[in-house]
Structure formats: structure tokens, C-alpha cells
Amino acid sequence: MRKENLNYYNFYLFIFFIIIAPATVFGQYEYKNIDGYKSFLQKNTVQNTLQLDKKIQKQYSDIIDEKNNELIDRLKEKNFLFDTVAYPYLNSIFNNVLSSNSLDKNRFHFFIDRTFDVNAYSFEDGTVVCNLGLLGGMENESQLAMVFCHEIGHYLLMHSNKSIVSQLNKYNSHEFLTQIKQIKKQEYNTKKQLEDLLLTDVFNRSRHSRGQEKAADSLGMILFSNTKYGAKTVPAIFDYLNSAEGFPNVITIQSFLDEEKITIDDFSVAAPPKRMHFGTTEKKEIIDSLKTHPDCDKRKLQMQSFFGLNPKTGVDFITGSKQDLEKIKRYALFEEAKYSKDKGNLGLYLYQLIQIDAMFPAEKYIKSWIYNMLTSLYTHHKTHTFHEVVNAVYIPQNGKDQYATLLKLLDNLSLEKLNEITNTYYTNNNSFITIIKN
């Protein structure tokens, strides 16, 4: 009797994956108004360029065109989410901020980036992007609204544009060009001097960026004050930003193996031995994110102080409810995982599935996905393309980084052992597994 039921269960799952799921997924990553958006960006670039000194107009438009093209390419490559669940919800919160501040909706575009990175960002053209990864730690709509206010603040204060123009003015200045000329005249040690000049410049820019972040926070708080959202929980955003690692971490890899009764010889899930190092690593580019410039603790204090002096009462939900947000957060987790799969990062996808499975044990179909991913990894291993789908170049965040542990485990497995694990997983979960032919 039980067996019959399970067969029906599998049958429904099969129907869901083969017919229903693709139908619902179809089109959710396609931006329908891409041509309109392209013209908007071009028009915006022309308008901004004309306001500048002729000397730097071409350079400015080249930079912006490059950014525009990259953004359009990312849209075409389905890096953004335009679904019928998360997008309308978040877009509605975004629009609420705009209308509460009497801002023209036509000047803005709102996108959801499918990545797990805990971040949001904006461009000089009024495009505001929220990463799916940001949703994980959001407790209510008020917090999301504050993040959007911060990004809108950057746009209204024209931070991106001002930075670009200021850099271009500097690079075209007589003083800077003379410095370069002098360095190039010298015979020895010229690269070092040029590099030092560039580093000083990057440092100055980063200091400037800290100021911009502070200003965007200040304007953001004013914009937020005009909405009907309450500010009580808003400073807590910074606690989340401070602690967020990006990856969910609810089950350790060892617990997963224990649950599946999989034993692996010669593999220790203990923290990896101390990494070798050699002096200083190559300087990385400075990346602006919500969590940087200035640090989160200071920003939290500033926000608490502002709303202490200017109390902002209001509600935490306008567009939906706590339950709606929880659904969206859950949905976001699945979408982030799917994004990893779409981008061909199968090691990360497997990790995300293991975590999602632990979070939602009732959702038995996840086991099917895990099994199918294990078989896919087996195929890649066999054809020596494993390195294409599993990221080996990854620096663990800390000794407890479970994604690093999974990568280490995958790296240690022979083809035979991977096959054994896949078969064990199938034996343990075969009642829930539907084999997807790829």
C-alpha cells in the first residue's frame, strides 16, 4: 500500500518537474522591456555627457557605454529575476519608497540580482539592484525599504557620476600628467613609482567613497522618514551585514554524511591546516558593498542616533505580511541555488541543496535534486571536466566554513568513491528520487 502511494508521489513529482516546473520557470529571467531600457540608458548617458567639460566628454561616455553594455549583457544572460513572486513584492516596496518621496518612477529601474552575495547596489542612471542573498537576514519590509532608500540616496546625490567625473578631471589635470611625464623620463624604478601613484589614487577614492556611504545613509534616513514604515528594527540591518557569510550553514558536511551513513576513509572534516603564505597577497580592487565604508558598527550607531532624535513610528509591513516575506526568503534560497546551477557552479549548487534539504526536510523532492547533482558530478569527474564545475580556487572564510569542507571532500574523492556515495544516497532515499536524464 505504502509502495503504491510512493509511486503516485513519484508520478506527481515527475509531472511537476517535466511539465509544470518548466512552465512556471519559463520567462522569469527575461526582462521584457530590454529595448526600452537600452534607449533609456543611451538617452541618460547623452544627457549627462552634455553637461560635462568637453575635454572629458568622450572618456566619460566611453566609461558609461561600457557599463551600459555590461548591464544589458547581464540582463540577456539571465542574471536577474523577473518572476511573479519575489519581483512584484520587492518592486512594490521599492515603488512605495519612490511614491512616498514623490520621486518620478520613470527615472528609476529596479532589478533583482540572482546572486547569493549579501548586497544591494545602484548605478548613475537610477537603476537599483537588490541581490537575492540580501533577503536572507531581512526581518521585515522596513529593513528592505531602508536599504532601497540608501541606494536611492546614492543616485540622488549623484555619487557614481561625481566619482567618475572627478577621476577624469584628475587624470586630465596638468598636475597629474606632469607627474606621469616626470616618472616616465626616469630610467629606473618607473613602474614602482607609477604603481605607487595609482595606489595613492585608489586610497583617495576609497576615502571619498566612505564619505559617500555616510551621505547616502543620511539621505536614506530622510527618505525613509517620509514612508509609512517604522524605524524600530532598521538599525539591526547592520548586525546582519556584519555577520552574514552569504552561504546558509545549518548542517555540517559531517552531519550530512552521518545522516546518510556514508563513511569516507582518509578524510578529515576538521579545519584545514594553517595555510601557507608568502608576504603580502596581490592587492585586490576595492569593492564597494553595503557592508563597507565605513564599518557597520559605526553606521548602526549613527542610524540609532538619527532615529533617536527623529523618532519614526510606522508599520513593518505594507505590501505583504511576515508570512509573505518568509515565503519570499525561502523562494530566494531556491533561486540562489538554481542560479549557481545555471552558472555551472555545481559544487556550490550541491552545497546549497544540502543546506536547503536540512532547512526544509519535508520537501522530499530536494533529495531528487541532490541525487541528480551527484550523478552529474560523477559524469564530470569521469570525463575529466570536474574542474569546470567545482570551484577549487576558494579561500575558506574560517575554520568552520562548511562549503570549504565540501570542496575539500569533493577534491579528495576518487571516481569510484563518488559512485559509491551516489549509490548509497540513492539507496537511502530512492522513494523520493526521480532520475532526471540530462
Binding site: 608568502f278 569546470e388 576518487s414
Partner: protein, 513 residues
């Protein structure tokens, strides 16, 4: 053929910043570098990472500013160090002793080798320069010696680095030692009495007390082919000779391959010959010698291949069937306390009679060795063969030897072929915990029944008694050219160049075994 591991790449990374043309050009120049050397950082047979040594800037009239970038075995960046040095500098090899990095530089103009040790903060903590009295590239004899001596640094676990350099190649060599932790450095010349025709040092092992070197020597004399083999023990603190002991025991002539420190004693594992002509005749079996810490022989054990191998491989008239020989490439100790031998089956492609006739007719006879399967043998500590496995590979051949070498013994030809890198065995790698031991080789065969013959990289893996094999094509199908570099066990690093895209990729390919 072995692959050239040294890869000279010219990197031209252009900046794509869109600012003022002058500034853009100046800054893109900053990123133009010429890579001088790329290599592996090893801790004995364990790959710990890779180095890239590149020219960065002119320091003054005589010197350049170089950058030395290190990545770990997974290609994660470890750091970059700026070093000023002479224009003619080459980074020959590198190593990691568990605490510090050592780099062996050669300055062709000053004829100086220098071992420089850096700690993990990238600070130079010790150095040992050595000026040699000849120019290695000036004379074919010196070049030959360069090839015969392993250029790689030898690592004493957590206790520094050892290097061997010839001064007068026939009669003396110098042992150089450097330790980053104790800052201890020394050089000792080894010069036995009497002139030598050939003298070759090989690092066996070392600990915090002693460095063991195998010395092979042939005394001067036109027709002399008799070899003498000794184990030389030097104090790790001063370089002083602690003892030198011959490995000739009764009628057994042992060529030491490996040494292990065990219970206060030294166990030397080697190949045993019943003749003194160890360069020209095939070995008769394995030898296991135990010496105490003063060099006194405590125990010896000799096993012939005939009595052990015969159970596993077809033998005939005291040799492998059909005139085959086994060339022993390496012997390593497993964590199961067994000894693992990697060998390659070969035979002479043309028989001596044929060659002789071709000499009389004034025609050069093509003399080469036919290379066949790899053979892995596992011995217990008493020299009993536990298993032997032939790993099939396509028949290949070495480069062509001059016709007058036709009368030389096949084993001598194999020794020469090995020195020239003509044999298919490539290298031995171990994992950190010594759980996996892998032997790599080249194979020219079809990977699948319907596929074309390709140049393939093969890996034999030993794990707790189990021997498995995997192969991949050397060349990435889409790349203009590909090169393979050794990597941690279970992996091989494929460097691909794509001419059209002007792109260089490095793929850490995971093998199936």
C-alpha cells in the same frame, strides 16, 4: 618523451581603463611583465604550490627588480615578493621545508648559484651563495653533468635545504646547506682520493642530525666501467663527514635509491647487482641494508627478481620473457610499511648483429629502445614481493642513439635514455599524509576504442595496496598548445594557450583514480 616543464610566457595584460590616453598607457605599461621562470614548489615528493618569477622593472644599470609570486597547490594566491637582482638571473628550482621557502638562483655572468631562504612573511632569512669555477653552458661535459644531477632542491623535513653542485665535475662536488629557522649555512667539498671518470651525488634523506647522500663513482681509466657506491653521512649542523660506508657487501653491489630513518637506524633500499658494472648491466634484485647511526652494517637482505618477480611476470632464462628488461625508476616507502617500486619494461629495438652489419656497410643503424608497459611492484620489508602489476601502455621508443652505441648494453642505453628524459616515466608524487603515492607517465594510445591515438598523461595511483590507473590527453582540444605540470596527487595542472583569444588558462584537472 617528457614534457618541457619550464614554461616561458610573455604576459601582456593591457589595462582597460578609459581615462586619459597618456595615463592609460603609462599604467598599462605597469602591467606588462616578462615571465622568466615558472615552476613547482615541492616538499620532497609533495607538490605544495607553484612560483612565477618575472621581470618587473629596471633597478639600476646592472640590476632588475623582479617579482616572485607564489600560489598554493589549488592555485590560491599566497603572496608576492619584490627582489632586486642581476640581469642574468634565473630561478632554477624551489622548495618548502614545512616552515620556509627556498629558491635556487643562478647568475650566469658571475657563475654563482645562490640558495635564498624566505620565511612565510616573505622576509629573506638566510642565504648561501656558491661561485663555481666553470660555465655550465660552455662545455658539453658540463651540460651533461647538469642533466645528470637533479637540479631540484632537496628538502630536509622542517630542517632546511640541501643542494649539490659540481666544481670540478670529475673529482669533487660541493654540498650546500641552508636552514631558515637556525640561519645555519655551510658548504662542504666531497673529494675522494684518486681521479674519477664519473661521480654522481644523490640525496637520500635527512633529519635534524644527518644528511645522507648516495655517491656513485667510476675511477678514471679509459675502459673502466666498474662503479663504486657509498652512502655519505654529513652532520646537518656543520657539514662534517660523520661516516662514509660502501654498499658493496660480499658479491652484492647495491645502488642506493632511498633511505629511511627507523628506530635509530638507517634503512637503505636499493637495487642489487652481482657485478660491479652497475651502469651497464641490469639489476639482479632488491637490496635492503640497515646501518646504525655510526654507519655500521646491522642487517642486510637481498632478493633476486627471479625468485620474486617470477610469480607475477613471465620469466625465461633468468630474464623477463622475450628479452625484456625492467628499468627501475623509483622506490618509495608506503604508509603500510612496504616498499613500492616503479619500473618500465623495455628492450633494444635492433639486435647487436644487425647493428654490426650496418656498421660494416657504413650505414647508420637506428638504435633505440622499445618502451613498453609500466610495472609497479610492492615488497615487504624482508624483500618479499607482495604484488606486481603491469600497467599497459602503447609501445613507444626512445630517441635514436648513434650507431656506434649498438654494442652498449641495453641497461646502459636505458640509463642514458633516462638522463635525457626519453623514457615514458615522468615523476613520483605523494600526498601529505603519504596515503596516496602516484607515478606519472606518458602514453601514446587511443583512450577509447574509436578514438584517435593521442599523447596522453597517465597516472598510476597506489592507495593501501590498491593500484589504479587513469589517463587524459595532454592537449586540450580547443587550445593552440597545452603543457602539463605536476600537481598534488589525483590532479594534473594543464596550462593551455589559446592563440586567437591570446588567452592562457590553467586548469587543475582531477583524475579519476
Amino acid at each position: 618523451m617528457k614534457f618541457k616543464l619550464l614554461l616561458i610566457i610573455f604576459l601582456a595584460i593591457s589595462a582597460t581603463q578609459g581615462f586619459a590616453q597618456n595615463a592609460a598607457k603609462a599604467f598599462s605599461d605597469v602591467k606588462n611583465v616578462t615571465v622568466r621562470n615558472v615552476g613547482i614548489i615541492k616538499k620532497n615528493n609533495i607538490v605544495k604550490g607553484y612560483f612565477t618569477f618575472y621581470e618587473y622593472d629596471k633597478a639600476d644599470k646592472k640590476n632588475l627588480i623582479y617579482k616572485l609570486n607564489l600560489v598554493d597547490e589549488n592555485l590560491n594566491d599566497l603572496g608576492t615578493k619584490e627582489i632586486t637582482g642581476p640581469k642574468d638571473w634565473e630561478l632554477v628550482s624551489s622548495g618548502f621545508d614545512g616552515n620556509n621557502f627556498c629558491f635556487k638562483f643562478y647568475d650566469d655572468k658571475k657563475r654563482t648559484f645562490e640558495l635564498k631562504v624566505y620565511n612565510q612573511d616573505g622576509i629573506e632569512v638566510a642565504s648561501n651563495p656558491l661561485k663555481i669555477n666553470y660555465k655550465p653552458s660552455s662545455n658539453s661535459k658540463y651540460e651533461m653533468y647538469q642533466q645528470m644531477t637533479n637540479p631540484e632542491l632537496n628538502i630536509v623535513e622542517n630542517n632546511g635545504f640541501v643542494d649539490y653542485t659540481f666544481n670540478d665535475p670529475n673529482n669533487a662536488f660541493i654540498i650546500s646547506y641552508v636552514n631558515g629557522d637556525t640561519k645555519n649555512t655551510w658548504q662542504q667539498t666531497y673529494q675522494p682520493e684518486g681521479k674519477s671518470k664519473i661521480m654522481l651525488p644523490a640525496f637520500l634523506n635527512g633529519n635534524d642530525e644527518v644528511i645522507l647522500t648516495a655517491v656513485a663513482r667510476i675511477e678514471k681509466g679509459m675502459y673502466n666501467t666498474k662503479t663504486q657506491h657509498t652512502v655519505l653521512a654529513s652532520s646537518v649542523k656543520t657539514g662534517a663527514q660523520l661516516f662514509e660506508v660502501s654498499t658493496e657487501i660480499d658479491d652484492n653491489h647495491v645502488v642506493p635509491i632511498n633511505a629511511i630513518f627507523e628506530n635509530g637506524n638507517i634503512m637503505v633500499i636499493g637495487l642489487n647487482y652481482k657485478s660491479t658494472k652497475t651502469f651497464t648491466s641490469p639489476p639482479d634484485g632488491m637490496a635492503f641494508l640497515v646501518f646504525d647511526k655510526n654507519g655500521k652494517l646491522v642487517k642486510s637482505n637481498f632478493k633476486t627478481f627471479e625468485e620474486t618477480l617470477g610469480k607475477f611476470l613471465p620469466m625465461e632464462d633468468h630474464k623477463l620473457k622475450d628479452g625484456y628488461y625492467l628499468y627501475m625508476h623509483d622506490i618509495v616507502r608506503t604508509r603500510k610499511n612496504t616498499n613500492l617500486v616503479i619500473a618500465e619494461k623495455f628492450k633494444k629495438a635492433v639486435d647487436a648483429g644487425g647493428v654490426a652489419l650496418s656498421l660494416f656497410s657504413n650505414k647508420a643503424g637506428p638504435i633505440k629502445l622499445q618502451l613498453e608497459n609500466m610495472v609497479v611492484m610492492e615488497y615487504d620489508l624482508d624483500g618479499n614481493l607482495l604484488q606486481a602489476k603491469e600497467i599497459p601502455k602503447a609501445k613507444g621508443s626512445t630517441g635514436v642513439f648513434p650507431s656506434y652505441t649498438g654494442f652498449l648494453t641495453p641497461y646502459l642505453l636505458a640509463t642514458v635514455a633516462d638522463i635525457f628524459g626519453w623514457m615514458d616515466y615522468m615523476y613520483t608524487i605523494k600526498s601529505d599524509e603519504n596515503g596516496d603515492i602516484t607515478f606519472s607517465f606518458v602514453d601514446y594510445d587511443r583512450l577509447d576504442a574509436g578514438a584517435k591515438k593521442t599523447e596522453n598523461f597517465g597516472q598510476i595511483k597506489y592507495h593501501d595496496g590498491k593500484i589504479t590507473v587513469d589517463k587524459i590527453p595532454v592537449k586540450n582540444e580547443k587550445a593552440t598548445f597545452s603543457r602539463l605540470m605536476r600537481a598534488s596527487t589525483n590532479h594534473v595542472l594543464q596550462v593551455n594557450y589559446f592563440k586567437k583569444e591570446k588567452k592562457l588558462t590553467m586548469d587543475m584537472i582531477k583524475l579519476n583514480n
